[in-house]
């Protein structure tokens, strides 16, 4: 073949490649624009450089695939230290590795991990016996407590608890162990001599932290979620006060307009209890972020003598310290330390000043203290920056050192409580903390990407889930209210938002998110890739409480499934396909990913069609409906379905409705229905 023919072919190929390339390039730009920016006004859409820089097919089509091929190469063996305990001789530090399902024991003289003891799934907290022989670890996703023999480093026994055990505390005689069960909202009282749960007490909604008063007479359990209140009433979150003598609930006190309490500690004299609080403004129209219009954070203080309760702000007028997690008091009762897991800070408080402020509040000299952004200046003495996501802390018995678990850098910070300087870091793993998906996890939990650091994704989606509140986000106040949805296992359930406008999580967290939610600079393309990758591929559901993996349906669940898939009413009438539950809620995600009018819009909604939500582990997501009006699943059909627009149910008897609910409770992760 002559030179010229080869040249001609080369030329044609070149032109073809160029055209395809050009054509392909343009298509990919449009595809990218559709998937990330969508139909937004001109001035946002034409940010072409950002688009080109962000164009990484790999990030969309690899890391964000829930079970994508490349995921297997992503870094996996993170420790994610979550909560701590220290032996009474101050020689050993006990660390729960939330993502490595192990309890670590660190020798504090050499900062070396001397044993790594496998325990159940998702270990949350650890309590150590006074003699240091036994450690008790709550396995939040195995609904059990592991009893660890410290010396030979084995987790011999496990004790069954309620669903989602989190905080735990030993009573003073070390005969009873109190465990806060987050998912079943109760407290297991375990008789350690029998090695079995002796009784269960009703707690607040999603209890997490639990602690015993210095005199050993009362156990306080704090909860994450507001109790279910009347529609559009302020949230109020319960602290359950248990009498350690009768081992019964003596009192239920509530912090108003506050929620997400994670830990509780006491002043050594036992007159004050301290907890961390988030103060959401979900009833206030989200017209701005400035001046704490979306979220503020506070220290909850309870006077155990008078029963008075105070909420002391931790923020400042132009700076917010998001997601306070743990609070620890020095043995001399002079200082309190709070870990801000969203702001990556430790706040140091002067407790004498706190007492002065409380007195002024009592005397009416300070009004509306809980909303006063200037007040924190009175009692905050220092802000100490930390690594990513500081969570559980523990004070050395002598009070000189504070150990801080940095969950998303796999490190334990050691703070000198006199100099208030971070002395040293104990590294818990050699895993790459800058790997893409880990960065995505760090971004998810960090408030740095919101105006004035006011909140992180965690603030409304604690534990990658939801906070049970309904926010007023739309343009016109009081209209199109939106009930926060879970972020667990979203892959394959796009589009998103109740109006189904966001085609992908890219779009959900991209330009529009920064414009209407965080109100500051949008995520950079790399960060957006990391965040979307984390949300799509890493967040899982805890095991379903009502039907374990591989378990058969119970009788009631089976009858409920028949009702869910029925095509005829009780009296034989045909049910139109569009009205059959299975039509809009087909497995595996139990959503057809389309919008429907199911008669749930109110006169304050500007559209009547809503995106079908996925029903995986729906039991975790009360309240229900797009605006959170239904407090329980039953209400969807007993109160909000008069015209049978949300499935034909009005012919059902009460026991049939109960069976349907039993089946809905049993719907677990999508993987069981593939």
């Amino acid at each position: 073949m002559k030179m010229s023919n080869r040249l001609i072919i080369l030329l044609i190929l070149g032109v073809l490649l160029f055209l395809m390339g050009y054509r392909g390039y343009n298509w990919s730009l449009d595809h990218y624009e559709y998937m990330t920016i969508g139909q937004v006004t001109g001035d946002i859409a034409n940010d072409r450089e950002a688009k080109i820089a962000a164009l990484k097919c790999m990030s969309c089509h690899t890391y964000t695939q829930r079970d994508g091929f490349f995921l297997q190469f992503a870094e996996k063996d993170y420790t994610s230290p979550y909560n701590l305990a220290v032996s009474s001789d101050n020689r050993r530090l006990f660390v729960t590795g939330q993502e490595s399902n192990a309890l670590y024991i660190v020798d504090l003289a050499s900062d070396r991990i001397i044993s790594k003891i496998p325990v159940g799934d998702y270990p949350h907290s650890v309590a150590v016996s006074r003699d240091g022989q036994k450690a008790y670890v709550t396995n939040q996703w195995s609904n059990s407590v592991s009893v660890v023999d410290v010396d030979n480093g084995t987790a011999g026994k496990t004790i069954k608890t309620g669903g989602g055990p989190a905080g735990l505390v030993l009573d003073h005689d070390e005969e009873f162990l109190y465990v806060a069960n987050t998912y079943t909202s109760d407290i297991s009282v375990i008789d350690l001599n029998q090695g079995v749960e002796s009784k269960r007490l009703r707690a607040g909604n999603y209890p997490t932290g639990i602690n015993i008063s210095p005199d050993g007479r009362q156990v306080l359990a704090v909860s994450q979620r507001s109790v279910l209140v009347e529609y559009r009433d302020p949230p109020k979150t319960e602290i359950t006060v248990i009498d350690a003598g009768t081992r019964r609930v003596r009192q239920r006190i509530h912090f108003e307009e506050a929620h997400i309490m994670e830990k509780v500690d006491f002043s050594p004299s036992g007159d004050l209890a301290f907890t961390t609080l988030v103060r959401p403004k979900n009833l206030v129209p989200a017209v701005q972020v400035e001046s704490g219009w979306m979220m503020t954070f506070a220290l909850g203080v309870i006077s155990l003598e008078t029963g008075s309760m105070y909420q002391l702000p931790l923020d400042e007028p132009n700076m917010f310290y998001a997601d306070p997690f743990d609070v620890r008091i020095t043995p001399d009762g002079k200082q309190a330390f709070i870990s801000h897991s969203g702001g990556d800070y430790i706040s140091v408080l002067d407790i004498d000043k706190v007492r002065e402020v409380i007195q002024q509040i009592d005397e009416g000299l300070i009004l509306n203290a809980e909303n006063d952004l200037m007040l924190s200046e009175a009692y905050i003495t220092k802000r100490i920056p930390t690594g990513s996501n500081p969570k559980g802390m523990v004070m050395s018995p002598d009070g000189n050192r504070l150990y801080i678990a940095e969950r998303l850098t796999d490190r334990i910070g050691v703070l000198n409580t006199q100099t208030l300087e971070l002395e040293r870091m104990i590294t818990m793993s050699s895993a790459d903390q800058q790997a893409l998906l880990r960065r995505g996890q760090q971004l998810f939990n960090n408030s740095g990407r919101t105006f004035q650091n006011q909140y992180s994704c965690y603030s409304c989606h604690p534990n990658d889930h939801e906070d049970g509140l309904t926010y007023d986000m739309d343009f016109y106040p009081g209209e199109d209210l939106s009930n926060v949805q879970t972020l667990r296992e979203l892959a394959g359930t796009s589009p998103f938002k109740w109006n189904g406008n966001n085609v992908s999580i890219y779009m959900q967290c991209g330009m529009r998110f920064s414009t209407f939610v965080t109100r500051t600079e949008a995520f950079s393309p790399e960060d957006l890739n990391a965040l979307v990758g984390y949300i799509t591929s890493q967040i899982q559901h805890p095991p379903n409480l009502y039907r374990g993996p591989g378990e058969e349906l119970t009788e009631a669940q089976r009858r409920g499934k028949e009702l869910f898939e029925r095509t005829r009413t009780n009296d034989g009438r045909m049910i139109a396909e569009i009205d059959q539950c299975i039509t809009c809620h087909p497995p595996p995600h139990f959503t057809d990913r389309l919008k429907h009018d199911v008669g749930t819009a109110t006169d304050r909604d500007n559209h009547t069609e809503f995106l079908t939500p996925h029903l995986n582990n729906i039991y975790e997501s009360a309240p229900y409906l797009h605006d959170g009006r239904a407090n329980t699943l039953e209400e969807l059909w007993t109160i909000y379905n008069d015209d049978d627009l949300h499935g034909v149910a009005n012919d059902m008897t009460k026991d049939q409705l109960n069976d349907l609910i039993e089946y809905l409770l049993s719907i677990g992760s999508a993987e069981y229905y593939k």
Binding site: V249, L545, Y546, E634, T653, K654, Q656, N658, E662
Partner: protein
């Protein structure tokens, strides 16, 4: 003409034999199949839940049910009415909860503690002002309150409300509630419930899901991992919590308001209450009292025993003594001895009648119960609280029945 008569007589004879055979046959037959038409074993696949057949051995062995302790006699009656702080004199139920008395009236819940009455109404979170039933869970101390419009769990001062709209509660009219650690058993007008406090799940027992002839449940109690449901017109259902299966106790005489053969089974199907104590199941009905020791039944009517009236609203049992709330006085019975407490028309005094077989002793007492129509009662140690249709009465043990009296 004669042959016609003989034929006619023969026919009568055959008919009589058939009736007798039928009657005899039915008492030993599987109760739930013998029914008047709409048998409860409907086709909805419930067969597998009904297994036990009721074998009524009529052995005459007198099991030794005479309790070891002597029968207590109550007195020194102290009456509480609206003058003393009750919100209403119509007192439906009463529960002794350690240091306090919980009183259910038709105008709210009244709590007596340290001689101080505190009234709770719907404004405080009570589901409805008309409180029908109260029970306290031993483990957690949580108080369960059944009202005319929903169920409350009252725990450490906070009222939580369950109703047929926001939960699996069968119906909002809650006649009886029995808290038993993990499970709370609830009797409503449209069936009974088992609520699992650990998992927030509801089980409903009604005519669709159980051999319950009528869903109208007046009474419920639980003991030794079984629940007993008094279904109005449907006798008593015994539900085994482990196996999930039922036993049904019905009146063998069906709807004949007379007892052809004494002690042949449950005295009547229109049951109003159940109590289980020391292996004995007591059943109150509007037509007499039933007692069952696991092997055999006894039925008691007012004309031939110390029962003061066959119209019994409720029954409780403690230390082998049954306490009966009748429309004509308060009755106690330990299997042999009856004690009846009643008012005397036109007088401040009360009367206490002790009956044992043929012997009867009538005592006039200075104090009297507040009214003879009794709705319910509760007993603890040597104190009894009696809910009547006019006022609440407190009594204490003033003596015991011994041979000398009878």
């Amino acid at each position: 003409m004669k042959t016609n008569i003989q034929k006619f007589a023969l026919r009568i004879l055959i008919l009589a034999a058939a009736i007798i055979a039928l009657l005899f046959f039915s008492s030993g037959f599987v109760i739930n199949i013998f029914d008047d038409g709409d048998s409860s074993t409907t086709e909805t696949g419930l067969a597998e839940e009904i297994t036990a057949t009721v074998e009524l051995e009529n052995d005459s062995v007198e099991s030794d049910e005479n309790a070891s302790q002597p029968m207590p006699i109550y007195g020194n009656w102290q009456v509480f009415t609206t003058e003393d702080g009750l919100p209403s004199n119509k007192v439906n139920t009463v529960k002794i909860d350690e240091g306090r008395i919980l009183v259910g009236t038709d105008r709210g819940l009244a709590v007596l503690e340290n001689n101080q009455w505190t009234i709770y109404t719907p404004e405080d979170g009570l589901a409805h002002r008309n409180v029908l039933s109260i029970d306290v869970d031993e483990d957690s101390g949580d108080v369960w309150i059944g009202t005319m419009d929903g169920l409350n769990r009252w725990s450490a001062g906070v009222f939580e409300r369950f109703d047929q709209f926001n939960s699996g509660l069968a119906n909002n009219v809650v006649y009886e509630v029995s808290a038993d650690g993990r499970y709370t058993w609830i009797a409503t007008t449209a069936g009974a419930n088992r609520y699992d406090t650990y998992t927030n799940q509801w089980k409903i027992f009604n005519e669709e899901t159980s051999p319950m002839h009528e869903p109208w449940c007046y009474g419920i109690t639980s003991a030794e991992n079984k629940a007993y449901i008094a279904a109005w017109g449907g006798g008593v259902l015994e539900y085994n919590n482990d196996t999930g299966t039922f036993r049904v106790y019905r009146d063998p005489d069906g709807h004949f308001n007379l007892t052809l053969f004494p002690d042949d089974g449950l005295i009547h199907d229109i049951t109003t209450g159940v109590a289980f104590d020391n292996g004995t199941l007591w059943v109150s009905t509007y037509f007499g009292l039933g007692r069952y020791n696991g092997q055999r039944w006894w039925g008691y009517l007012d004309h031939d025993t110390g029962l003061t009236s066959t119209f019994i609203n409720a029954v409780k049992a403690k230390n082998s003594v049954a306490y009966l709330a009748t429309d004509y006085g308060l009755n106690t019975f330990d299997g042999t001895t009856w004690v009846t407490y009643n008012t005397i028309d036109g007088s401040k005094n009360g009367e206490t009648i002790i009956t044992n077989g043929e012997n009867e002793e009538k005592l006039i007492t200075d104090s009297a119960i507040s009214h003879r129509f009794i709705w319910n009662m509760d007993v603890q140690d040597d104190v009894i609280w009696v809910a009547t249709s006019y006022g609440l009465t407190r009594g204490v043990v003033v003596g015991y029945v011994d041979e000398t009296i009878l």
